[in-house]
């Protein structure tokens, strides 16, 4: 089909055609979208809820909801960003149910200044990832990120783990760009502070590591 393209025409994301086909009833096209993003959605849901079973349910619910709402997808954002928004909302809802709390939202605990001012200035071992076994390291990382308020760990997950841009993160979370930047900085600093407990260089005395394990 011949179309006149203006020089400003942006490259069309390949998902647009898949969404269009899925809307017309082509389930294979939707399956392709699921395969493209299921792992990412699973990681995001897991990071937010810190619960594997919830994350499994969220993946299924988020894709089903997306399928049911495909006609509402405007196409002025990426399909993935739109899907992330659905998954984040589902995740926060699950978290709220599990905690039996009225409010678990992106705004929770954002007033806290905890960890915003660095306190630990010890350098880390050159390669902390080699210091621990794979499963031990995974536990440390999970435990550490779980200590952050949901609003902070969600921003960190989208921006730093899943590599969404600041603008995409803002769009997916319904936050302003400055709010994303502010939360991201605080999330990064809080995680750094908490990880320092595990990764900082042990004080060495004449080449011998101290064994008393005293904490400050």
């Amino acid at each position: 089909m011949a179309t006149i393209q203006s020089p400003e025409t942006l490259e069309v994301h390949p998902d647009v055609a898949l969404v269009e086909r899925a809307r017309e009833g082509d389930t294979a096209a939707f399956e392709q979208l699921v395969r493209q993003y299921d792992r990412k959605i699973f990681r995001i849901a897991n990071h937010i809820t810190q619960n594997r079973e919830d994350a499994e349910d969220i993946v299924q619910d988020a894709f089903l909801k997306a399928y049911q709402k495909l006609h509402q997808f405007q196409g002025n954002s990426k399909f993935y960003t739109w899907l992330v928004r659905i998954a984040v909302n589902e995740s926060l809802m699950r978290l709220r149910k599990r905690r039996n709390a009225k409010t678990v939202s992106m705004d929770e605990d954002v007033q806290t200044e905890e960890g915003s001012i660095p306190r630990d200035f010890a350098d880390w071992t050159p390669d902390p990832e080699q210091q621990f076994g794979q499963s031990e390291l995974a536990e440390i990382l999970k435990k550490t990120i779980n200590g952050l308020p949901p609003g902070f760990r969600t921003v960190f997950t989208l921006r730093d783990v899943e590599n969404l841009s600041t603008e995409e993160t803002a769009e997916a979370l319904g936050l302003s760009v400055p709010a994303v930047k502010s939360r991201l900085l605080r999330a990064r600093l809080q995680l750094r502070e908490r990880l320092s407990r595990y990764f900082k260089q042990k004080t060495l005395s004449k080449g011998l590591a101290m064994k008393d394990g005293k904490k400050k």
Binding site: F30, F63, L64, I145, R188, S196
Partner: protein
């Protein structure tokens, strides 16, 4: 600082920050270990979906989708 970590500061500001880091050990440690924090979470995908579970979930999603009339 978010912009600095993401390489989004102006050249001039980047030079100024780097000059400060060269003489301030505390700030240098904070910047380096914050970078390591981001990297370790990026490297270690702590929540991976196993293939069998993935296939089961996909089958369940697609089965339900086929039952729903896409409006």
């Amino acid at each position: 600082m978010t912009e600095y970590f993401d390489g989004e500061v102006s050249e001039q500001l980047g030079v100024e920050i780097n000059a400060h880091l060269a003489v301030c050990e505390h700030c240098e440690v904070v910047v380096n270990t914050t970078r390591q924090t981001i990297q370790v979470y990026r490297d270690q995908q702590v929540y991976e979906l196993s293939e069998p579970l993935r296939e089961r979930m996909l089958a369940s999603i697609m089965e339900k989708c086929k039952k729903i009339r896409c409006k």
